[in-house]
Point group: C2
Chain length 381, copies 2
């Protein structure tokens, strides 16, 4: 049994207001080619298929093309689960009418696990797709008493453990945040206050855990509990990541061997730094000058229309930082840190500025629930 | 070959800000029951499945349920086409992966006709689903020189005529505005300036034309060129319409016999008129007092909180007209007429008020194109 594990396609996403649709088309075509080259038995997509609950029409059309190429033309089954960015109902529409075709979409959570047996050229395996679900949803669907993301996952995995796979290896597909996993700046927090993290050990009993959410490829605990990472760099913080899909080969006994298959972006996402004149000079011979760039200008004096000058050489400069002009570089760091903090901290800051007092723990707990609820509503509306 | 023809479900639609989802669930369950009772070979939905390009998640979930009941549980094939209200790409996602199941969704127009042969208990038939497409789209997809809706339809129907159905009756499914058809207030114009209407004669060569768009059940020209009408009254102008689905039986030679199967709404949509006290008194014994109501109050004096008083008896009063207070009833009529006029006339009024001059024919032509383009973009974004 040989399959490709990928996740976090985020089709329709923009980077600093630049549409990435053509970049996504480019890299998705590579995934199709890799599936052919490696003669895989399935392609697994572990959530965040789209970037938003309501994807733009051209994003839907692109996914339709890719899926049709894999499933109908190449006869390679595809399993995808809804992530925290996806609209579960919209993504899951008519999924029961697609199953026979080999396309398996797991949209809204329900209390009946649907194991998917994939027939492989060197042995079969049983796949279990768990859509992203926060504790409130799991509590509602299973009428149970779970409060944390970890408890919710344990509840979902119980069904997987109990299912009789007739001796076939079990592969779990899930979209979640493993404790200790390393973040990028482009993931939207699943929750706030840290209760979104779960221990990697809950997945170790299975032959393989195909995870989505974190955008850097990595494993936690054991090698077979793994994030494939996103297909493109979705923030400048990912400039040093190498994007790939994961090729997984399972023995009939369920032992996984793993290989990373690199993806090559149409345009790279990177940061360049220097004085304007030097950058413009270097750009003339830079074969990658069409990459998506953040430019840190070190010049200490005012410059007329630096963006215009840069774009004449590097057409896809998306962001410009006048690092040289910043009186205090530590301020810059604070600024960045602040953005990373998320809604709770920003609201806490706002609250203490307005009220003159810090928020109490009780008040913070109320806010945590409110913000979580807002994210939940956003996902289901 | 026996099938149900229905259209204009508009799932997710609101009536004066009142969600109709439960009413839609109620009437869709009847359609499923009618399909069983009459042992039909297919259910045809001629466009405007949803009310908006981006339907709410609960509308998607309802359609998913209905389709699953028909296709998976009852094994009754369903064919649906995108109407002018639907998002063609979103509705058509993964449609090629559903075909084998018996669910046929025709989303975006493309230049390859996909005939659908349905196997019937007393003979087969060939169905041709044409999604709603304005002249600009047909021009683009077929690289042809069509300018009117009629020319566009003739272009699409040519493919149908040319297709060899191996002697099977041909059924065309289309979403369009037939010249002479009677409108309601709840249809969104396909175009403005009248160029949206097409002659019913283009459909007469086929065994049956299952049309959508107009909300009142009706036929034009010949009995087999027919609108099923919407499943619910979507405006008070439809208060006297009887909603139904159309049961069509085709002989193997393609002669259609037709029967209307009435639908019964959970709550009717109607207008009541009278003085407040009389209406409140009558309401006490009105078994239909939970209907969706427009109330025309004939009282000539001021009344404190008439809506509150009415809703205490009729909980679903959606709109109140103080007809008795209107100094000049003709003004009321003008007001209604104005609403019906649509964007072009409203803009023409606005233009002449602002500029002090009427719009020239040339200026109007520019506006017609601009507004059509806006509607087109809305449908595809």
């Amino acid at each position: 049994m040989k399959f490709i594990h990928t996740s976090d396609w985020h089709i329709g996403r923009q980077l600093h207001n630049q549409s990435l649709l053509e970049d996504q088309r480019h890299v998705l075509a590579q995934i199709v080619e890799l599936a052919v080259t490696h003669d895989v038995d399935a392609v697994i997509i572990a959530g965040d298929i789209y970037d938003r609950s309501v994807p733009p029409a051209n994003a839907v059309a692109l996914l339709d093309e890719v899926v049709n190429r894999l499933v109908n033309e190449l006869k390679i089954p595809v399993i995808m689960i809804a992530g925290n960015h996806d609209g579960h109902e919209r993504l899951g529409f008519a999924s029961r009418q697609m199953r026979e075709s080999g396309l398996h979409i797991i949209g809204p959570l329900n209390n009946t696990l649907v194991p998917i047996e994939i027939v492989g050229k060197s042995g079969n395996a049983m796949f279990y797709g768990l859509p992203y679900a926060d504790p409130a949803t799991v509590r509602h669907v299973f009428d149970s008493e779970v409060n944390t993301h970890e408890q919710a996952m344990v509840q979902l995995l119980e069904q997987v453990s109990e299912h009789d796979s007739q001796g076939l290896p079990k592969v779990v597909i899930s979209h979640c945040f493993l404790d200790g996993g390393s973040e990028s700046e482009s993931e939207r927090p699943l929750s706030i206050g840290g209760a979104d993290k779960i221990s990697s050990t809950v997945f170790t009993p299975f032959s393989y855990a195909a995870l989505g959410h974190l955008h850097g490829p990595q494993y936690k605990g054991e090698e077979h509990v793994r994030y494939s990472g996103s297909i493109l760099k979705y923030s400048f913080s990912e400039q040093h990541q190498n994007k790939s899909v994961t090729l997984v080969e399972l023995t009939p006994e369920g032992v996984a061997s793993i290989e990373l298959l690199p993806l090559s972006a149409m345009r790279d996402v990177r940061i360049i730094e220097g004085e304007l004149d030097a950058l413009l000079e270097a750009g003339k011979t830079d074969l990658q000058r069409e990459d998506y760039l953040m430019v840190r200008l070190l010049d200490k004096k005012a410059i007329l229309d630096p963006m215009g000058k840069l774009r004449a050489v590097y057409p896809n400069v998306l962001h410009l930082e006048r690092t040289g002009l910043m009186a205090n570089n530590s301020q810059l760091a604070i600024g960045r840190d602040h953005i990373k903090k998320g809604e709770l901290d920003m609201f806490t800051d706002f609250f203490s500025q307005v009220s003159g007092e810090p928020m109490s723990e009780e008040q913070q707990a109320v806010m945590v629930n409110a913000i979580d609820e807002l994210h939940r509503v956003e996902r289901t509306s």
